[in-house]
Symmetry: C2
Subunit: 430 residues, 2 copies
């Protein structure tokens, strides 16, 4: 069940993957050293794009929502990684409160919540699910399409602690990205471990902070194994004080789009790549593929029509977009049954626990595949991504490609660790 | 492919397993606390016996030799656990020297060595295999029955380090139980990490030290979850200064056999168990099922004939037996296709990574199944042993039984950790 991959420009990627495989002792040694200095987030998922000449992360999610899409055979891997994470973050925990997104009708998402709860239960924690939805004022059972049930319970806040009726957890795991801000009920919980910390939510988080940290990670890593960091790192820039409705900040946007495109064109010349460079303009805070636009020329952002401006101006929870990331577009030359595919890597703690392909039958190789209403076809990887196949040694074989994915996914996870350190609020202890 | 299990006395075991399942939050919490205080050995395997009324370890191996028997589906679990172990013991390692037993013709054992090397390579280490065999004086390739090859190389010792030609490893992993003593070539290696430490070898190790540590672990654990520790702990005693050839120490042996049998009889009465108690007399140092005897009455050890005395007097590498363990026998009521079976649990670091059944078609429920020349039929567990199945909740279902096995296996692993602490030689730093 490994999906068949076709990569148009196999040459350079093969070379990159071969480099990763040959350097795996240095890579793993380097990563071990990094994890001694930086604590990875409890869990994460990373969207990768594989253009053949480049393999890079384009988005790192700290509240991953697709655990239901992983290959069930890798459940033990998830449980083992979660045991390791719990040992580190809250060895003393016996009970854990899981707080999901406020989707009660999205069956796929609810199955993800059920899967996270199942993984955590199997580490030996008492797990219950509390909801931020005010309309759920008593324990409510939701039937899942796969025959399971999910019990959502109303949260109960005391001055210093958060729990449920008859349930006072040691740890709280967020699967809610806090796009609407940090709700008061989650503030000031100094007695309980909150994972990831609330500043990992989109109320505080900025993609530009993440990719600034990734810049550093990619540079250090590339130096350690002797590659051009651009091969794993999408160029980016950022514009603040944008108002799409009022057409404020267009010049900043156009100038930064031009700058990133110039940089990419230079690299395409250097590597003799015969493709049209493009950038992706996206909200610096936010998720779900909302507020995303593909641009091939700086002039395009000057002449946005009303519909385009409306589309760019709000993201999830109706938040206004005023800061945008201008990110080098990475073509996706991977296809599954002729449809463009991008790999998504799942991690718990510092361990890759699986992944899947996001497949879009109606989109091109330079388009955002994470779009509302998309036809989304997850294809679970057959391997855990931690198993380079040294015996066959062929980087084109799926286990080896997955090893490369696992390496770049972990680099993004490391960048998230550094990002969270840098953006942590000062505490009273400091 | 889960082997069908028949357990004659399902009642009490079901009750024990149900207790384990219900208490899994306490169990995992308790274990997490223990691992903060005690460092598990790099790897281990534990022979369990499951009598229905009792589930107990009878032997803990710190140089496990059956990785080839594990379900290949759990290779990623082994790799992840090994990554965790390497992070802890030797985060700075890039290369590792594996030193196996001196068997060059045992195809099963050689496949185990190849499997250990494969796991470690997949954590990103450079792995090479050095042999203690003096006749291998140049790199020698051995063909394995499964089509793979193993390269054995002669060890090269410098004043302070051990390596191979052109290979100076940071870490040394022993898969050799040092029954013949600690060879000079392995002594005084203060600059390199040796895993497990040489005092884990049978030159120093004693089963009685292990089971004394297990006594403490079983008592603490039983108290934590509210069970009678005897349900997971085989009673034992020890005799030193035995000489089977010269019939020295027979009285000590008879007295201790009687004492253990009396204790077991008392317990059988308490639990209304209608079976004949027995003890297993085995060499306190040693392995491979040599020097093992089943005894149902203290008188039996007085009247040993020459053949029996010869059998008991030597173990692997021709070592004389002078110290014996008298261990409560635990009937095995598990059968696979009508043959008596005992589960063997494999661990890397503190993680259960799989297991298999040792099956013997020619032996009874109260006999040692680890006997030379036995018909040995490993049956890989289908699960990783870390996944209690809460949905079905039936302790008789294989995943739940495997959870119980995984718990008792980890208790034995914890006992090994404490045993190694207690028996560690004093170092200059102390």
């Amino acid at each position: 069940m490994v999906p068949h991959l076709t990569t148009a420009l196999t040459g350079p990627l093969l070379e990159l993957e071969r480099r990763f495989l040959a350097a795996s002792p240095q890579i793993e040694h380097w990563l071990r050293g990094q994890w001694l200095e930086h604590t990875p987030p409890f869990y994460s998922s990373v969207d990768l794009r594989n253009s053949g000449f480049k393999l890079a992360p384009v988005d790192t999610n700290l509240f991953p929502g697709g655990f239901n899409n992983l290959n069930p055979a890798f459940l033990p891997l998830c449980v083992q990684a979660a045991m390791s994470a719990i040992e580190k973050f809250c060895p003393d925990a016996r009970s854990l409160l899981l707080i999901p997104e406020n989707h009660t009708r999205n069956q796929f998402y609810l199955q993800n919540v059920a899967q996270i709860a199942a993984i955590l239960k199997q580490t030996g924690l008492n797990v219950r699910i509390g909801t931020l939805l005010p309309e759920i004022d008593k324990p409510t059972t939701i039937d899942l399409a796969n025959g399971q049930q999910l019990l959502l319970e109303p949260l109960i806040r005391t001055p210093y602690r958060l729990g449920l009726d008859g349930f006072d957890p040691c740890a709280i795991l967020l699967n809610n990205d806090l796009s609407a801000g940090i709700p008061p009920i989650l503030q000031g919980l100094n007695e309980q471990v909150v994972l990831p910390p609330v500043h990992a939510g989109w109320a505080v988080r900025r993609k530009s902070n993440h990719f600034a940290a990734y810049d550093q990670v990619a540079n250090d890593f590339a130096k350690a194994i002797g590659i051009d960091p651009w091969r794993i790192n999408p160029a980016f820039s950022v514009c603040r004080s944008i108002n799409f409705h009022e057409r404020q900040g267009e010049e900043c946007l156009a100038a930064n789009v031009a700058a990133v495109l110039d940089l990419v064109k230079e690299k395409y010349r250097e590597y003799d790549i015969d493709e049209t460079p493009y950038v992706v303009v996206k909200a610096d805070a936010g998720t779900y593929g909302m507020g995303v636009m593909t641009v091939r020329d700086a002039d395009e952002v000057i002449a946005l029509n009303r519909k385009q401006r409306n589309k760019m101006s709000v993201v999830k929870e109706g938040l206004e977009v005023s800061e945008v990331l201008i990110q080098e577009g990475v073509h996706s030359f991977e296809t599954v049954k002729d449809a463009v595919a991008e790999p998504v890597i799942y991690m718990i703690d510092r361990y890759v626990v699986g992944g899947f392909y996001r497949v879009h039958t109606g989109r091109g190789k330079d388009e955002n595949l994470n779009a509302p209403g998309m036809h989304f076809e997850p294809l679970a990887f057959e391997t855990g991504c931690n198993l380079p196949d040294y015996r066959c040694g062929n980087p084109d074989s799926a286990p080896n490609r997955f090893y490369a994915y696992g390496v770049v996914g972990r680099l993004a996870c490391l960048a998230a660790a550094i990002e969270l350190e840098r953006t942590a609020p000062e505490t009273d202890e400091d």
